[in-house]
Symmetry: C2
Subunit: 132 residues, 2 copies
DNA sequence: AATAAAATTAGTATAATACTAATTGTTAGA
DNA sequence: TCTAACAATTAGTATTATACTAATTTTATT
């Protein structure tokens, strides 16, 4: 799998972190990324070229590969977010920090570290560990 | 401080990780980064623009700020490298992985995590924790 | 001084990022 | 159904980081 950029990571996470059952809109993505829609569309195109999403009748569909990559990012995120909160960093700050590198962590590495720190499922604040 | 890129990070680390007392040569930097000299020179120029290094009579001098940034990278590197090796990842692999994100870690975050995991000075292999 | 090695300049290219302006498409209300 | 509003897309431009080759200049070493 080709490496993602920070923007591509944020975009993929934005697409898959929607609560609603409706597929996310481009304008909503643009909003979440704080860019204009042509810029968002550009990121979308790159994610498509990397086969992480597909355009299915005007709708953004995340591919199997895309879901896999997303899960790996989430696992790495959870892992390091937990580490940071356990080190005394606030959940918000931890999330903000970890976003900058979770997508760079090798999945195998994340999984080993996650075991090492005891597979945390919840942040120590009792809040479910959220990615975005 | 402006954010560094991966290349700029590698370059700064290369410059300051030389054993010899002689200032590093451009060709040596190019070699370490596996790029041609014009490319290396380009990175050097960007580091200069960010006031991390200076050209002092044809010699590359690292500024106070550059040394500070370097130390922060090293601390973050040591911190996460230790975490990874403690999780059962080989030192070589840990180093390789951590290089990809150590320069993105907030120094304050690194310092807190470092305390949390017990301020490791040595890798569990008994080798001094090396950055490059 | 002559040659070899190193550094630099000039020129080109690509990928990622981001914008505006203009156009096309869609949709919901009158 | 028509149209106004909103959404998506295209076209065009710009910047930054990255990287190359070829040519030139500078610096060392015999």
């Amino acid at each position: 799998m080709e490496k993602l950029t920070q923007r591509e990571r944020d975009c993929l996470v934005a697409i898959l972190s929607v609560n609603s059952e409706f597929p996310i809109r481009l304008s909503e993505i643009a909003n979440k990324l704080s860019v204009r829609s042509p810029t968002a569309l550009n990121v979308i195109k790159r994610l498509s070229e990397k086969n992480l999403i597909k355009d299915k009748g005007g709708m953004i569909i995340v591919t199997k590969e895309g879901k896999k990559v997303y899960k790996e990012i989430i696992e790495a995120h959870r892992c390091f977010e937990a580490l940071l909160t356990e080190s005394g960093i606030s959940l918000d700050e931890a999330c903000k920090q970890v976003r900058k590198f979770d997508y760079l962590i090798d999945p195998n590495t994340a999984s080993k570290v996650l075991s090492h720190i005891g597979n945390p499922k919840l942040s120590k604040h009792g809040r479910k560990v959220i990615v975005n």
